[in-house]
């Protein structure tokens, strides 16, 4: 028996057969139809669609036999495929040397006739055969052969068709799987977007919105559909559009991989919402930007809080920098100022930064060495303070120009540590340099004044006392002269008269002066006096004088008013005023003199009123109570009278005023404290 030759292109042929994935599959009706028709047309009991596969032939369709396959070496089809375009006919197998001893011939199958048409695809690959087999030798006529060829073409066609179907099915399957995967991915993506805790927006490269999530929709109050009709520009506040576009451009051009910016979005109702967006691009399969995706965080509240904070800061800063004092927070641990307002520059010449730089050297380098110890004691005092109480200190600090300034610091507790100990103090410092200077000047002046006063006292003492003795001598020798000179010419008489008068004047004046000085020096002893009783007594003692001039003197006051004052002075004052009234009575009328007294709250008002000559107050008001002033033509007094009265009243802590009208009368008002 001859084994079939292996075709020269067996590898390719086998590969082609494999590609049809038909070997080993279940029978199919279309192929069974072919073998049925083949067996009928050729009038054979057996017809096969046989595929030559490696070392076997395998029957896709069979009629008339049971076996599914036989070994290739024994097959007729193995021979047939070597002539892909020719029908292979063995009319009598037993007479063919190639096949006579073939087991299929000699054995049970007893094959007597074979005719097979190779199943050849368009690539010239003979996959197998469509063959008919009979036990009896036979011969096919031309129509049968034609028919068999046609059938074979048909089988090939069907095999091809089947392959295409399989491929399509596979493709479809792949597609379905892909689609499923895509759906899953998409779903995951959507879920990701939707469930993200930030707003998410996907746009194309021009900025048109493709997708948004619920967070964003709630934030800006647009629906998904509304968003998809919008662009990024429409959503962005006009002031931020340029920056947004710039950033997008950089992103698309690949200059940056992503950007983050804070910008304002315009919500549906027109309100502005601050958002922080981080944006990156989504690449296509070539790595070029295809979409832009951004996560948006609503920072509106954050922004508002920040703005509010800034406003507060500005307000506070304004206040502390307007206040014309230094406000500071001093840290006792670091011995430095943690905060100082701008005023520190105006007062000490250092900027706030320069002060910070000084750090703990602030006090030692600027505080006056004499005040440093007190300052540290002050810090300790502050450390012992209760909350909301204040400790003060005056001390000197050196201005940048080298000159020391006096400051008044008032400190209070600002911050305590966990154990309640004072860490920081809040203080206000006022520049009191000028005040101090004024104070110093004042005390200097006071010292000077006191010295002058002392000198003055000396002078007055000398003036009064050292003049007494010369005057006494003049008096003495004058008296002598008077006695000695018997020859009294008119001139001499006139001279004597004048000398005597002038000596008297001198003495009176000097006595007045002495008295005034004494009043100033006296220490007052106060007695309790019942006023009406005392005044009554004074009036009584003046009565004789009054009656001598036909005058009228009476008292108008209620009883029972008590005053604590110096008896001697009080008497003197009233007596002086009474004698003044008598002295300066009018020649044209009888003297009427009234003394009235009444209580006014805690004061005693005494009024001494006469109807005498009066004083021209227009001319004299400023000099009334001055020294050496006389207001009437025929004055005999030293002019000290009213001055002394005033001095005494003031020594009693009261005051005296005068009202007067020329030729009508005068009234003196005296006001004294009752107790």
């Amino acid at each position: 028996m001859k084994k079939p030759d292996i075709p020269y292109n067996e590898k390719t042929r086998q590969a082609a057969l494999d590609s049809y994935q038909i070997v080993g599959t279940l029978p199919e009706q279309i192929f069974d139809d072919a073998t049925y028709i083949a067996s009928q047309i050729c009038n054979t009991p057996i017809a096969l669609v046989s595929l030559v596969d490696k070392d076997r032939q395998w029957f896709k369709s069979k009629v008339g036999i049971d076996a599914d396959e036989t070994h290739r070496d024994l097959s007729f089809c193995g021979h047939a495929i070597n002539t892909p375009h020719q029908i292979f006919e063995v009319q009598n197998t037993k007479e063919d040397k190639r096949f006579s001893d073939n087991p299929l011939v000699a054995g049970d199958l007893n094959i007597g006739f074979y005719a097979g048409v190779p199943l050849t695809n368009e690539n010239e690959m003979a996959l197998g055969t469509l063959c008919v087999i009979d036990q009896n030798p036979k011969e096919l006529n031309e129509q049968q052969k034609k028919a068999l060829k046609a059938l074979a073409r048909d089988v090939v066609y069907k095999i091809e068709a089947r392959k295409r179907e399989l491929e399509l099915e596979k493709k479809s399957q792949i597609n379905t799987e892909l689609l499923k995967k895509l759906e899953q991915t998409n779903f995951r993506f959507q879920s990701l977007i939707e469930s993200a805790p930030l707003g998410i927006v996907v746009t194309d490269l021009k900025g048109s919105i493709i997708q948004t999530n619920e967070v964003l929709e709630n934030m800006l109050e647009y629906s998904k559909e509304e968003f998809q009709k919008m662009s990024v520009s429409k959503l962005t506040y006009s002031a931020d559009i340029n920056k947004t576009k710039l950033n997008m451009k950089k992103l698309i051009e690949g200059k940056v991989k992503q950007f983050t910016m804070e910008k304002r979005y315009v919500a549906k109702d027109g309100s502005l919402i601050w958002g922080r967006i981080s944006s990156a691009f989504v690449p296509d399969s070539n790595g070029h930007p295809a979409y832009l995706i951004g996560t948006i965080e609503n920072i509106n509240e954050e922004k508002q809080v920040k703005q509010e904070l800034q406003r507060s800061k500005n307000f506070l800063s304004k206040i502390t920098n307007i206040i014309p004092n230094i406000i500071y927070v001093f840290n006792q641990k670091t011995m430095s100022n943690e905060y100082a307002n701008r005023e520190i520059g105006a007062t000490l010449g250092y900027s706030v930064e320069e002060v910070q730089e000084l750090g703990e050297r602030l006090m030692p380098s600027l505080c006056h060495p004499d005040d440093l110890n007190r300052l540290f004691e002050h810090f300790e005092a502050v450390a012992r303070l209760e909350d909301e109480t204040v400790a003060k200190i005056e001390y000197r600090m050196k201005h940048k120009d080298g000159i020391y300034r006096w400051l008044l610091s008032e400190d209070t507790v600002f911050e305590r540590n966990g154990e309640g100990l004072v860490v920081k103090q809040l203080g206000v410092a006022t520049d009191i340099t000028e005040l101090k200077e004024v104070q110093e000047k004042l005390s200097e002046q006071t010292i000077q004044l006191q010295k002058r006063n002392e000198d003055l006292k000396q002078f007055t003492y000398v003036a009064t006392h050292d003049l007494k003795s010369p005057i006494a001598n003049i008096k003495g020798f004058f008296n002598l002269l008077k006695k000695e000179v018997k020859d009294n010419t008119p001139k001499v008489a006139m001279a004597f008269k004048h000398i005597e008068k002038e000596i008297q004047n001198f003495t009176t004046t000097q006595e007045g002066l002495t008295k005034a000085i004494k009043i100033r020096e006296d220490k007052i002893i106060a007695d309790e006096i019942e006023v009406s009783k005392l005044l009554g007594e004074l009036i009584d003692s003046a009565q004789s004088e009054i009656e001598a001039i036909n005058g009228d003197l009476y008292l108008d006051m209620e009883e029972g008013i008590l005053i604590k004052t110096n008896l001697v002075y009080f008497k003197s004052i009233i007596q002086n005023l009474i004698s003044n009234a008598i002295k300066y009575r009018s020649p044209e009328r009888v003297l009427k003199l009234k003394i009235a007294a009444k209580k006014n709250k805690n004061k005693l008002n005494i009024c001494v009123e006469d109807n005498g000559l009066g004083i021209d107050l227009e001319l004299q008001r400023n000099r009334i109570f001055g020294m050496f002033n006389r207001f009437h033509h025929h004055s005999e007094g030293s002019g000290m009278g009213l001055y002394i009265v005033k001095s005494m009243v003031e020594k009693l802590n009261g005051n005296i005023t005068i009202e007067s009208s020329v030729n009508k009368g005068t009234s003196f008002q005296i006001e004294l404290k009752l107790l």
Binding site: H498, E502, D616, Q620, R630, H633, S635
Partner: protein, 136 residues
Amino acid sequence: MLKVKEVLLVDDSEGTNDLNTLLLTEMNVVEKISTALNGRLALDYLMTKNIDGNYPNPSLILLDINMPVMDGYQFLDAYDQLDEEMKANQIIVMLTTSISEIDIDKAKGYKYIKGYYFKPLDEEKMNQILEGIKEN
């Protein structure tokens, strides 16, 4: 020697007036001597016509400063307001006990004041004053 028609002595001290009257009388340089005890009385005198219908118009006024009722300066202020005929051809000389009484700047403000002298007046001072009258 030329005699001055009238001199008005304005001083609150009678002693001073008497002394000056004595001096002027002894020097025999004045026909009439009038006195006033304070500025007010001096003004009244200058403003009152005589029996012959004329104002007194003394050629010289010796003016004290410290006087009651109206002192030297108050007198000068009022004197400024007087009619011309009451004060024609007059000179005023201030008489004072010490330089400290005089406010020189104030005195310079009054054109009638021809000078100031310290008390007591004597012949020499009086002659100087009379020279001044002559020039007037």
